[in-house]
Symmetry: C2
């Protein structure tokens, strides 16, 4: 058995659920946020740092890892866990999103995608079978099928075509799987078209995948469109399999998707924004380079229990960013990941207590109020 | 009393000595290497990391810290220790070296140096008195006098002039000191001229400084010149005060200077080279980006007990550098600082055992052999 998923509690006033996903490398408490470690590293952080912020799962990327360091390395050293020294669960994305982001030197056929690599300038092929082969070498606990990603706002014919190829590729991925220890999740596509989304979910759930993802969102769509499609798809997905909303998003996105019954998330925001100098806090986002922070001796977030907030003042973090010192991004990134993981821990507690719907409403109002204040106060807010 | 220095053991066959320097923020076991934390941060590392690598003292820079975050901040928050959360001893360099490295918009007079700041484009004055005032605000345990730095290879007249002004500035610094808790070290100058070096040491040691530094080396001189001047100066310095060789250097530089009776060192090499991808190991320097490391699953240094070597392979570190991932420099920098601190711990043990001279000879031969092999094998050596 690759993964075992159990729903432990169900919220009373929403579809939110509290689950446990048992993988080869440990148990994931859901709803779970997964830290993005594209190239077998979560930018600037060690596995010890990840454990400190409460990370449960690290997400690697098949496209990037097949180019560098390459599947042969993973075969030789015995997989990504040993390589990056993260001994908890790892999920690998298939590379579909990356392939379709390449603008030049890329041809996609029914067979797969041929593309020129940025690493060695040579042509490579990423097919459903090759993606599974590479993910098998990487040794992730959860593999994703190669899917056809297009802008969520594309016209219907294109969305349908991409969806249908995604389905054929999903079945080829299933047939290509060789290691029963590694779970395989399918990815529902269908853009922003409710009818296509429904077809996609109905097709994929007839096949023995270990979990289902909702793909193709947060690529040009509005928050409202995203929420509608997420609710529709999650409702149609089977209750006994984990549901994973890919690449989404902000804390409000997560709170809404949990209401819809989503169990797993990933997003680069906490790390990317951290490296750019923006922190998520319980009183809204903080741009650390803004002048008022230079004279603020309080932590980023007085409510936060992360190691950055336990020790360092905003004035020190401001100084580090002003000097382009790499400790600054490291400390902010750590804080942001802790913020996301602490939010998910709160989410899980609220579901267990059966109060998630009211918790989420309150939390969303709070975030909205802070963002509104932030906009209103403009530059006066640090 | 600002600092108290005690010589605990004296090597039999050399001038090497094992001491203890008691400062307001803790005891420094000497000979000691000090980690360079110019802008109140050792590039990319936290105070916890510094403790893990065995760091005893962190070195800040008055020139950089007066411009950013500025002395007013240190006054407000109560000093650098609290600000950067390093609660061990801190030494601040005076800014002399930085001032004299500025090529444009700088005028030096008997009063001090006027210069245009890179931070705010305004003119600032750094005089001996101002340097002490800023260092007092910073709250370092050991302050350095502002000195006049010129190329060690300058002609005699210029070297003499710089030395004489350094002496006058040293006395002005002494007179400007207000906090008896903060030690003040003088800096001997005199370039590569033995007679001037002698005069400088003789002049400065007549005054109640808490320690003496040998400045103006590692700026254009050869290793042999550096060693001769270090031996000459150290021999003339009083036995009951700590001796600090500024900005020097490689492990062989340190081993030689300890033979001469030097107690304290600082150098950017372990951190700078670490960020550039070069590691110090017990078998010579390793350029991690070299191709053979891509397939080497051994640690950087099998002899090393640092957290990088305990966990990560060369192939993983190579991958991180190839991907420009910031975890790479962080892990190499950590390793290099551990390497330097472990070397100094070995040095201290050898002096205690009365075997330093033979230990140093053996160690120097070993390093020389590895460097020779490295050159001979060329690109074949990872």
């Amino acid at each position: 058995m690759s993964v075992r998923f159990t729903v432990r509690a169900q919220d009373e006033a929403s579809r939110a659920r509290r689950g446990e996903l048992v993988t080869t490398h440990g148990v994931v408490q859901t709803p779970a946020f997964m830290a993005v470690g594209t190239r077998a590293t979560v930018t600037g952080l060690t596995p010890d740092d990840l454990r400190d912020v409460g990370a449960q799962v690290v997400l690697g990327n098949t496209y990037h890892l097949m180019l560098r360091p390459g599947p042969e390395l993973f075969q030789r050293v015995g997989g990504i866990h040993k390589y990056m020294q993260w001994h908890g669960p790892v999920l690998t994305d298939s590379g579909g999103y990356q392939i379709f982001s390449l603008k030049e030197d890329r041809t996609v056929s029914e067979k797969g995608a041929r593309f020129r690599a940025y690493t060695d300038q040579r042509m490579h092929m990423l097919s459903p079978e090759r993606s599974i082969e590479v993910q098998t070498a990487i040794g992730s606990d959860i593999m994703m099928v190669l899917d056809v990603c297009i802008d969520s706002t594309s016209e219907e014919g294109a969305v349908r075509e991409a969806m249908e190829r995604t389905h054929r590729w999903a079945l080829r991925s299933l047939a290509a799987r060789t290691n029963p220890q590694q779970a395989l999740f399918a990815i529902a596509q269908g853009g922003l078209n409710p009818e296509l989304r429904k077809q996609s979910v109905q097709f994929l759930t007839q096949h023995p995948f270990d979990g289902f993802a909702i793909g193709g969102l947060a690529v040009g769509d509005s928050r409202q469109q995203r929420e509608e499609i997420t609710h529709l798809a999650a409702e149609l997905l089977p209750a006994d399999k984990p549901r994973y909303l890919m690449g989404v998003g902000t804390p409000p996105d997560l709170l809404h998707a949990v209401l819809a019954g989503v169990d797993m998330f990933d997003c680069v925001l906490p790390t990317h924004l951290g490296w750019q100098g923006t922190a998520f806090t319980s009183t809204g986002r903080v741009r650390i380079t803004r002048a008022p922070n230079a004279s603020c001796d309080e932590p980023l977030d007085a409510q936060c229990t992360c190691s950055t907030c336990a020790k360092f003042s905003r004035s020190y973090l401001h100084h580090l960013f002003k000097c382009s010192e790499p400790l600054g991004p490291r400390l902010l990134s750590l804080h942001n990941l802790h913020h996301y993981h602490a939010l998910m821990a709160e989410v899980r507690s609220a579901i267990e207590a059966g109060t998630y719907a009211s918790y989420a409403r309150q939390k969303l109002e709070q975030i909205d109020r802070h963002e509104h204040n932030g906009r209103r106060l403009g530059r006066a807010l640090p």
